[in-house]
Point group: C2
Chain length 352, copies 2
């Protein structure tokens, strides 16, 4: 009869197996465990317990006479355990993160550069692949719009949203446009749209603006359409990645098949975008999320573990950072690093 719940001893043994496996990467046998400190049991007893753990689905046996390796379910148990303990010993890694901090602040003059830095620092610190998404644009509020004439009948529109992300759009217009009209148009755009959330800019508002534009509606609607389109046109969530080549350090990910899949995911960004949305949609529940193997929302990463977290740029404006590595990743370190980093980012943005 297979037991239904893990008693204390089983938990201890399971944790010991997983920890050992994380260190060595090799299937671990009963003798190895029996020789560890803490629980004084013979290998035979351990074997019996291990058999139970296999039946319960926490560990796997690659083949009859091999040791055991953790299953997804086993990792899940380990990670949950870890997350619970996490609150306490955060202080420990303070040093490393201080290092990272200085590295971040150094060149933070531009958002893009900052994000690239963060990704790089993450992958370098953990030896896994890292990604970071720019703060989600279409949750932002418009802060400023400015049209300027560039040439006879060509206008450049500058659109600034909260968080100081800037978008540009060049607009070709049919006829020439005089300074007065341009000024009026600037007024109209700013008074109507400033402070609005981008997702709230709908057709009815646009048509109302066209109406207000009165006689100039011809040219003006051209411009408004272009601006509106440019504002909405941000399907492509910007994502920066780093250290994808790290996967080659882990044999279980480095075979052609898998490596190709992972690299593709990193290259095409599509799947990473999905990952970001997935994370953002869950972000209220908990700061950090861990997807183990099959749990992953990203098809090409079913053989990996994915750790994601949300950072806050400004109220309601979030971005996502993620670490992708083998299932036997150093969860402890990754969780610490990522936790530190998000709070780091949070406070950094709050300051500005």
């Amino acid at each position: 009869m297979v037991p239904l719940t893990l008693d204390e001893r089983k938990k201890k043994i399971l944790l010991a197996i997983i920890k050992t496996y994380l260190e060595t990467g090799e299937p671990v046998g009963s003798r190895t465990i029996s020789k560890l400190e803490g629980l004084d049991l013979s290998s035979a007893t351990i074997r019996n317990e291990m058999a139970d753990l296999v039946d319960m689905g926490y560990i796997l046996q690659p083949h009859t006479s091999a040791g055991r390796i953790p299953s997804d379910k086993g990792y899940r148990f380990y990670v949950d355990q870890l997350m619970a303990e996490k609150e306490k010993d955060i202080a420990e890694r303070e040093r490393e993160t201080d290092e990272m901090k200085s590295l971040l602040v150094e060149k933070a003059d531009k958002m893009e550069r900052l994000l690239k830095q963060v990704a790089k620092s993450l992958s370098a610190n953990t030896n896994y692949a890292a990604m970071i998404s720019a703060p989600r644009y279409n949750m932002n509020r418009l802060k400023f719009i400015q049209l300027s004439r560039m040439e006879e009948n060509r206008i450049v529109a500058v659109i600034v949203v909260e968080g100081n992300m800037i978008k540009n759009q060049i607009i070709d217009i049919d006829g020439p446009i005089d300074d007065e009209t341009l000024l009026a148009l600037n007024m109209l755009l700013n008074t109507t749209l400033n402070g609005m959330a981008i997702e709230d800019i709908n057709l009815s508002i646009i048509s109302k603006m066209k109406q207000q534009a009165g006689e100039q509606a011809g040219i003006i609607s051209e411009v408004i359409d272009a601006v509106a389109e440019s504002i909405r046109d941000d399907e492509d969530l910007e994502i920066y990645t780093s250290g994808a080549n790290n996967i080659f350090k882990y044999p279980e990910l480095a075979d052609n098949q898998r490596a190709s899949e992972i690299i593709t995911a990193f290259e095409e960004k599509k799947q990473l975008t999905d990952l970001v949305y997935e994370t953002l949609s869950h972000s209220d529940e908990k700061g950090i999320q861990v997807y183990i193997g099959e749990e992953s929302p990203v098809e090409n990463m079913k053989d990996c573990s994915v750790v994601t977290a949300t950072y806050e740029l400004d109220e309601g404006i979030h971005g996502t950072i993620g670490i992708i590595g083998p299932k036997r990743m150093d969860y402890d370190k990754v969780l610490s690093t990522i936790k530190k980093l998000t709070t780091e980012l949070d406070t950094m943005f709050k300051k500005n």
Copy 2:
């Protein structure tokens, strides 16, 4: 005695060997060649010739009883041959490129998107990895500068250069700035800088502008510094890549060691940037360049062949496209594709 030059028959045999190898990817033996159309010789004769070709360095023998594979020198001969023939039969691939054309034009509203499209289309069409660099910014001429007040003491600068590349810079100033000053500043910047090549903006011009700014020099020099810095600050040549995962299709590149190197090169862009500069510096000689194996200027691609070409956005403003694949790539197809594409891009930009 080893002959010094390739006679006609040797050339024929060499080409046959290379072509066969390109198709099969396996070492080719003397019998295979003797059975081909065109030259009616027994395998024994071919063997003798092959021995010569080995001595002359055009082909290699992986081991004593294997067939032959082309050496870098052999590929070089083949490619040169091909380039010479190239002028004639360009018409052939017209179809495919027409397809590509429509694909390109479709969403060419923004430079960035266009470049991504091109990279994608290139890698998809060839099954190799592709890259494209944005036109080299600091050769461009300034077209338009506009400062706008965004908030009380925060200004956004929009800088447009020829080719309609746009840069933005947010400038925090110490004190508030009034409309009049802003207008004057805009005038000053535009009259002084418009039409100038970015590399010609030096300290003497900047200090002259500060002088002209007169009493407002305090605030103004702040602004000018920021603008100047923003203009110059384009070390990071933008490069878009696609299809890096294609390398996994070629066993000779797909082993961990090599794959990791190539992926790293694609990820960190540094080496690709070097490649672009290398290409641009040679671009006058010839449109297309082929680097075979050791010839490659990029360290991590010594096992690859790299085909690059230059496209022209506007007079004197160039960008680079490149294909990276195995040494046994389909040079014929790649050369055609890349040639078509560059002329495509050239004409497209000329139209605008």
